[in-house]
C-alpha cells in the first residue's frame, strides 16, 4: 500500500516537476535561467499569505500566487531582453538572490487566535494550515498536485503543438533568423518568461501548503540549478523531459537507500557521463521526432 513516506516522495516529484517545467520553458527559448526559484518562492509566499492571513479560498490563492510569479517573470524578462547567454543567466541569478535576501527582511504578521502568524524574515513562515483546517489527507493533496500538474502539462503540450510553440523553438535556435522572419522577439520572450514564472508559481504555492512551513533559504540557487538540470537530463525535446529528470533524481535516488552518503558522487558522475553522450538529454528533439515517426507508422498500419 502507499505509505506516507512514499506519498511524500511522489508529491515532491509533482511539485518539483513544475519548477523543472518552468526552467525547461526558458531553455527551449534558448536561454539558461538560474533564477526560476525566485518565482517558486514569490508564489509560495504570496499564496500562503492569501490563504493563511487573508482567508482566501485555496484555488484563488493558487491563481493569485502563480499570477504574481508570472508577472514578475515577464517583468524581469522585459528588463533583460537586450542581453543573452551568460549575461542573461547571471542576471536571473542576481535577481533570484535579491528576492531570497529580500525575503529575509520581509515581515508581515497578523495576530490570529492569539498567535502572531505570517512571514517573519529569516524565521520563515510557518502555520500554513490550510490542509489541516480543511482535513485533507496526504493522498488527497497528492492527487490535487497531480491534477494541477496534469493541467499544466496539457496546457504546455497544446502550446508546443501550436504556432506559439514553434515560435518559442525558433527563438531558441536562431533569434536573428526569427526576427528576420517577422517574429517580434521581445513579445514572445516576455510571454515565455511569464508562462515559466506562472508554472514555477504553481509549484511553489503547492509546495508551501504541503510542507506548511517555508523559509527564504529553501529558494536558493541550488533549487534553481537543479530544476535546470532536470530538463537537460530528461531531454529538451518534449515537456515530459524535465519530468523524467525529476523522477530520476528524486524518485530513483530516494529509493536506493544503499548509496546514502555517496548519492551525489554516483549521481553527479553518472550525469556528467550521460551528458557526454546525450548533450540535450534523454528525450531530445531527435529522439522525440523518431518516436513520433515510429508511432505514426504504427497507427497508419
Amino acid at each position: 500500500m502507499l505509505n506516507d513516506y512514499l506519498l511524500t516522495v511522489i508529491s515532491n516529484i509533482g511539485m518539483i516537476s513544475m519548477i523543472a517545467i518552468s526552467a525547461y520553458l526558458i531553455l527551449i527559448t534558448g536561454e539558461i535561467s538560474f533564477g526560476q526559484q525566485a518565482y517558486f518562492g514569490i508564489s509560495a509566499y504570496a499564496g500562503s499569505i492569501a490563504t493563511t492571513l487573508w482567508g482566501w479560498p485555496f484555488w484563488m490563492a493558487l491563481i493569485f500566487g502563480s499570477f504574481l510569479a508570472g508577472v514578475a517573470g515577464g517583468l524581469i524578462s522585459a528588463l533583460t531582453v537586450r542581453i543573452n547567454g551568460i549575461y542573461y543567466s547571471i542576471a536571473t541569478l542576481a535577481f533570484a538572490e535579491m528576492v531570497r535576501l529580500s525575503l529575509l527582511k520581509f515581515s508581515y504578521q497578523f495576530e490570529i487566535d492569539g498567535e502572531w502568524i505570517g512571514p517573519n524574515g529569516s524565521e520563515g513562515f510557518g502555520e500554513i494550515r490550510w490542509i489541516f483546517e480543511n482535513d485533507i489527507s496526504i493522498l488527497e493533496y497528492t492527487l490535487l498536485i497531480y491534477l494541477v500538474l496534469f493541467l499544466l502539462i496539457a496546457f504546455i503540450y497544446l502550446i508546443e503543438h501550436s504556432k506559439l510553440g514553434m515560435i518559442f523553438r525558433m527563438l531558441g535556435q536562431d533569434p536573428l533568423l526569427a526576427s528576420v522572419q517577422g517574429v517580434k522577439i521581445i513579445r514572445y520572450k516576455v510571454l515565455a518568461a511569464s508562462l515559466a514564472g506562472f508554472a514555477a508559481g504553481l509549484g511553489g504555492m503547492l509546495y508551501a501548503h504541503s510542507f506548511t512551513y517555508i523559509e527564504p533559504q529553501i529558494f536558493n540557487v541550488m533549487l534553481g540549478v537543479h530544476s535546470l538540470a532536470y530538463g537537460l537530463i530528461g531531454g529538451l525535446g518534449t515537456v515530459l523531459g524535465p519530468i523524467i529528470g525529476v523522477v530520476l533524481d528524486i524518485g530513483f535516488l530516494e529509493s536506493i537507500r544503499g548509496i546514502q552518503g555517496y548519492r551525489m558522487i554516483v549521481f553527479g558522475g553518472l550525469m556528467a557521463v550521460m551528458l557526454i553522450f546525450m548533450p540535450r538529454g534523454i528525450l531530445d528533439e531527435k529522439r522525440v521526432h523518431r518516436f513520433k515517426k515510429f508511432w505514426e507508422g504504427k497507427t497508419h498500419v
Binding site: 531553455l27 539558461i32 528588463l79 533583460t80 537586450r82 542581453i83 551568460i86 549575461y87 543567466s89 547571471i90 542576471a91 542576481a94 535577481f95 538572490e97 535579491m98 535576501l101 529580500s102 529575509l104 527582511k105 536562431d174 536573428l176 540557487v221 540549478v225 535546470l228 538540470a229 537537460l232 537530463i233 552518503g261 555517496y262 548519492r263 551525489m264 558522487i265 549521481f267 553527479g268 558522475g269 550525469m271 556528467a272 557521463v273 551528458l275 557526454i276 548533450p279 540535450r280
Partner: protein
C-alpha cells in the same frame, strides 16, 4: 565619518583582492572556453580540503599545505576539464555547464567524506598582525594577499600578451577553428588553460582561507559566486577588469556591511550586478564585449 568610509574602502580592497583572484581564474577559463565552469569554486574548496587534511594528518607545515592545495586543485581541475569540457560536444554549451554543476555536487560530497565534520581550521600563513597607517588599519595577511594578487595579474598579463603560448591561447579563444589551421592544438590549449586556472585557484583558495583561518564546504558556492560576480562586474575576458571588479565588489560590500547588515551587504552586491547587466552588460571596463557580440551575431 569620512575616516569610517575610508577605512571601509581599505577593508573592502583587502577582502576584494580575494575576489579578484577568483575572478582572474573565472575570466581566463570563460575567455578561452566560452563556457561556464560552475565547479571552479568547489574544485578549489576540495583542493583546500586536501590541504587541510595534509595539515591535520601529515605535518604542521604551511608550505606543505600550500603545495597540496595547489596540486589537488590542479588534479581536480584536470578531472573537470576531461569530463565536462573536453568530452562534451562543443555545440552544446549548456551540457558543459550542467555537467560542471553535477561535478560540483560530487566534489562537495567527496569533501564531506574526506573530512566529515563541516568546519576545520585552516592554518594561517603568518601571524596575523594589524598594521597602522595614521588613523587607518589593515591586516597584514590581507595586505599580503593584495600584493600577491597584483603580482599574479602582472605575471598573467605578461604570459598572455607577451609569450607565444599566450598568443596561441588568445588565437584559440578568438576563433577555435581558425586556430586549428594555424597548427594550434586546441585540446592542448584547453588543458594548459585549466592547469593555469587551477594553479591560480589553488593560490586564491589558500590565501583566502588562511586569512579566514577556517574552511567549510560552503566555500565552494561562495567562491563560485564571488568570482562570477567580480568577473561580470569587470567585464568578461579582461584580466584587469576582473581585478577591478573584485576590488569594487569588496568596497561596496564593506560599506554596505558597515552602514547596514550582512543581508543588506549581499542584496547590494546582487543589485549592483543586476543593474549593471541591464544597463551595461559588457562590464565596467568592457566596451569590447559589445563589438564581440556584434561580430558573433553577424557570423551566426
Amino acid at each position: 565619518m569620512i575616516t569610517d568610509f575610508v577605512q571601509n574602502c581599505i577593508d573592502g580592497i583587502m577582502v576584494g583582492s580575494g575576489y579578484s583572484l577568483l575572478a582572474l581564474g573565472f575570466t581566463l577559463v570563460f575567455g578561452v572556453l566560452k563556457r561556464l565552469n560552475l565547479s571552479y569554486g568547489p574544485s578549489i574548496m576540495l583542493g583546500a580540503y586536501v590541504g587541510t587534511w595534509s595539515f591535520l594528518n601529515i605535518a604542521d607545515n604551511i608550505w606543505l599545505v600550500l603545495l597540496t592545495t595547489i596540486c589537488a586543485t590542479v588534479v581536480i581541475g584536470i578531472y573537470v576539464e576531461q569530463l565536462c569540457f573536453r568530452a562534451v560536444s562543443k555545440e552544446t554549451t549548456i551540457a558543459s555547464m550542467v555537467s560542471s554543476f553535477a561535478i560540483w555536487m560530487q566534489l562537495e560530497e567527496i569533501a564531506l567524506h574526506l573530512l566529515p565534520e563541516r568546519t576545520y581550521p585552516f592554518p594561517a600563513f603568518f601571524d596575523s598582525g594589524l598594521l597602522e597607517f595614521g588613523p587607518f588599519t589593515a591586516r597584514s595577511e590581507y595586505l599580503f594577499m593584495f600584493v600577491v594578487m597584483l603580482l599574479l595579474l602582472l605575471i598573467l598579463h605578461a604570459f598572455i600578451y607577451r609569450t607565444r603560448i599566450g598568443l596561441a591561447i588568445r588565437a584559440y579563444s578568438d576563433h577555435p577553428s581558425a586556430s586549428a589551421y594555424m597548427g594550434i592544438d586546441g585540446s592542448s590549449v584547453l588543458f594548459l588553460a585549466f592547469i593555469i586556472v587551477s594553479i591560480i585557484g589553488g593560490i586564491a583558495g589558500f590565501l583566502i582561507l588562511s586569512a579566514d583561518s577556517q574552511i567549510t564546504p560552503f566555500f565552494g558556492l561562495w567562491a563560485t559566486f564571488k568570482g562570477l560576480i567580480a568577473m561580470m562586474l569587470g567585464g568578461i575576458g579582461s584580466l584587469s577588469g576582473a581585478v577591478l571588479g573584485g576590488l569594487i565588489l569588496g568596497v561596496i560590500e564593506a560599506n554596505a556591511f558597515w552602514y547596514g547588515d550582512p543581508v543588506i551587504r549581499d542584496i547590494s552586491s546582487f543589485m549592483l550586478l543586476f543593474t549593471m547587466l541591464i544597463i551595461r552588460p559588457g562590464g565596467i571596463f568592457g566596451h569590447k564585449i559589445e563589438i564581440h557580440q556584434k561580430i558573433a551575431s553577424e557570423r551566426v
